[in-house]
Symmetry: D5
């Protein structure tokens, strides 16, 4: 039993119980994006979190141990950009891709976040006197509509 199996168990249990990732995150006191990524196998849970998720979703007994393991991360293949600054942005997509897809659809239903009706901004901020970058992507949301 590895992370991939656990994720399948989690998605099935979640659907049976009608829980959202946000509700699970609230239940165990974690950030919902972080937790969604973790339950897709991209972050380890700590012991308490792993136990709480296993109990809430009635996962098999060995699930907790796997959820605590540091996973092999990353979710899509293909050539990657060589420049290190650019690579980090690409890595974010690689890591958080299933979480972002899941939460975008949760928030707005079926459709896409547009890359056309779209803008991006970036700014430096310095919390605790240590510089950070903040990049904000903001896009319209064309919905898929069944044809008539």
């Amino acid at each position: 039993m590895d992370h991939r199996d656990i994720t399948a168990h989690i998605l099935a249990a979640k659907r049976r119980r009608g829980l959202s990732f946000t509700e699970i995150a609230d239940h165990i006191g974690a950030d919902r994006v972080w937790l969604t990524a973790a339950l897709h196998g991209h972050h380890p849970l700590n012991r308490v979190q792993a136990a709480a998720v296993t109990a809430l979703l009635e996962l098999p007994a060995e699930a907790a141990a796997v959820l605590e393991k540091i996973p092999t991360r990353g979710s899509f293949d293909g050539a990657s950009p060589a420049d290190l600054t650019v690579y980090r942005l690409y890595e974010v997509l690689q890591l958080y891709r299933p979480a972002l897809k899941t939460l975008i659809h949760k928030a707005l239903g079926d459709g896409i976040m547009s890359a056309i009706t779209f803008n991006v901004a970036l700014e430096r901020h310095d919390p605790d006197a240590r510089p950070r970058m903040r990049i904000t992507l903001d896009g319209g949301f064309p919905a898929y509509l069944p044809w008539e």
Copy 2:
């Protein structure tokens, strides 16, 4: 003379004059991220903007016509994710990659925006009663230091 040639002219002229992209954007009254992407060949300028940039940077006469042309966009190759929701995020990187690299380094010098000391948040907002997604990437900035 195509977009690639113009970009080379622009980068050289910019360096000679000691101008930043932000200063060029302010000069022509455009968003600095949008303008940085445009001058890397990913958006067309309108007639007034093209003339202003050509004059400011003393570009060759035919530059303005090329800057007004709708470009062939996109800047990195390789297999892309098939799911449409995920693809749009990937497309954003593909399109704004040189602009982001340039402006990250402008803000914080040589280093990377970390994907480890990092978090991502997303939220729906509804300006003008039309739904939009906003994704915020926020990361630390480890700097490259020469070794001693």
Copy 3:
């Protein structure tokens, strides 16, 4: 049980019952191309449609829940064109490819829509005062004949 499993169930049930995708679409009141794509796992059904298809084809009980889920879309791999305008056309093929193959053969039997005895037209139209593009592909249909 995921979209791929459901599609296999649907194709088998359809063959057993001798139903065409057009008949299924008529039964649930949906466009036949859209429904063919949906049943190949590229669009979610709404609750009523999912129940109607599950009943008509006597699919397993959990099929309806999967048919309502927003799917991971897209059906072929490989490098994709970077330019955004061109990419959208490619994406259409990627998304509707099984539906088009199925419905082409339904209409004309075994053979191909020619790319040689062929023409393409495009025009702008403005329904509801919002611009749209319409691209029309029109090709001959050489049939496969067994050799004698």
Copy 4:
């Protein structure tokens, strides 16, 4: 001097003279999509057409001979779908891609033909008692707007 060189000459001459592909097509009496594809190196012109284009755009003398040559067609690389019915649709994109991009932007400016606000229809028709397929792609047109 090959087709690629001629296309560069044509694009430059066209811009200098302010001619559209539709105007060139009307001038020589050809379909505008077919002619746009031909001038991008994907169809040969006949002797009269080649002479007319060379004269209209004041191309170099040897251009006419190259325009009459049967070209090496196709414009994008990468793995292609193996199934023959699907491949023909992909081939259409490969062949008419620059023509479609050019004419989409001519009709509606900078933006994309949406694959989300979109539908596709197909129907058999039988002109001259020979069966043909007609596939109609119809999509909205989100425009690129400079950010403010």
Copy 5:
């Protein structure tokens, strides 16, 4: 049960009964190359042919329905040549590759048709006043011999 499963059944039954593809083709009155390709999943049989093959080889009952379905054709992956004239030749190989391998070995045993001691000829012919191309490949046959 799909074409791939049927082919495995056919190859096993054929070996058990000691039948060649030529004998099967003669039995159902079909061209042997065409039939070999069909039984490898690259052409559909008609109802009568499907029933005859199923009976002759004592295939499972549902085999006949699969043999009548229009298959997803093509048998090898990888980048393909873009030019349409060249692509068609490549497509022939892609489609008839297992049939050619099988029938070459049937005719001459273990070895290869040489591409060195080899020539190729092509000619136009016009049966029924409609032009056709005929390409003839003719090669020596170095046999694999066990080493001594």
Copy 6:
């Protein structure tokens, strides 16, 4: 000056003089397919042939020496089939691809040799008591027609 340069010289000279490959082959007494392949850089000429072609087409003096050199053969990239029997067929395409394209268009004008209205036959023959394979590809020829 390498084979690629010579081929460019040859194609230009051929066009200027209005010669076909068949006429060049007749002039030097060689098979026209073999000679077309050779002049595209896939076979070496012998001393007499190289001199005759250089004289006939008034090629630069050093052309003859390059035409006599054993070339680096092969003309398209990508993954190849591993099985040796199949590979040899693929190799034939790789080697004779420009010759076949050129001579197909010479015989029938602009269009393709169909892979649909098509059949393939193979037979063993034993000239000089040494076994050979002969594979015959026979296809219809849909022509490209300008649209009206």
Copy 7:
């Protein structure tokens, strides 16, 4: 049962017993990096080591024989650098990649060895009068922290 199966058995047994690779290495008297690589299927054990590991972890009886076999080494695919000096460095990564990941996380928990806060040194040394290279990679360790 092959190396891959054994590795799965080993990882499961190790987790059940709460043993680290270092403890296993100490138990059988082997270097811990070498042993970690070996147990991931990249080095063969000798008879005594194979028996000791099989006993310690209560592996299935046939495990010992597989652990003694010389494995098919290497763990990641993709194009490799052609230059031989560079290739050897790449090969080290290919071979020791699972061992390094495992032991890095063992030493410092979840996070990465930075390639930014990083330096590399190399020096020649000559033990036993035979020259060797020593390359030292030294990097900071940004830890993954759950977001709050």
Copy 8:
């Protein structure tokens, strides 16, 4: 003039003057590995260092400005490992590859650092109370000898 051009100038000037990278590093007071990487275009120099290198090697005047620019880093293409911990090791190779090749040959002449007669060790250390990883690669050095 970009980093690639500067590197070519540097390598030529270095050879003409008979300087080693170590001597250049000593001259400007920088670490020799860091400086070798920087002069291959993988790190920016500061103003003083750029001036010193330009003067020492008599580079063209505009070289200093390019040497100060933050480069587009990375030197080899191809699919990269997705796991973030492993990726950082791969990134080190990607970044320092020309520097390592150059300095390995400088130290030991023509040959390779063996990946067979080889071992790797890793350890945590905590300078300044901040954890770091140190990985030490140590390999024999088989030399290329001309054959006799």
Copy 9:
């Protein structure tokens, strides 16, 4: 049951009985390299050899029929060199790769045949008045030693 299954049976039976490929080859009177390649699925056995191997290793009854079939040859994927002379050398590696790996380790234990401490020679010889090439690769054998 195909060649791949048979090879797995053979490797397991061989290990159980403690037989080497050389002993099997001696038992059935075949060259040991040829036989090793054949038992890895790259050459067919004749009827007598197939029966002898099946009996010696107590393989399942249907093994003999599969061992007599002409296999689909070749064992590694990826782009191949286009030039035909070079390709044949590459094909040798592709075909005999498992046999060479197995027999190298049999002869010298764990290690590699060096490509550095190495030379290659080639010569023409003419047995039976028919020219042949002989290429001799000769390399040192650095052994893998466990680290201490």
Copy 10:
């Protein structure tokens, strides 16, 4: 001027003077295969050899310095086999490929060394009490004959 340029100079000079690689090797007292590889840019010459080749072929003055430099080796791209034992054989091909092609054609004219009429042998030998492997490839030589 790099190794690639020098090789072009060498090939041109060699053709003008009618020298073979064997004659050049004899002139400077080197093994002919090693020297052929070196002059294709895969081994460095020592000072005396570089001067002798430069003089013999009247190469440009700076050729000698480049010929003495340790080259970036390797000559073909694509995915490589991961197993280290197999990789070394592949590396040999990668390194000596142009030398082998050149010397095969020198020995036997235009044709290929067959991989069908072929055998391979390997044996251990222990010169100077150090084990080595010797692999001998021996193949027939089908010649290319012009067709008649």
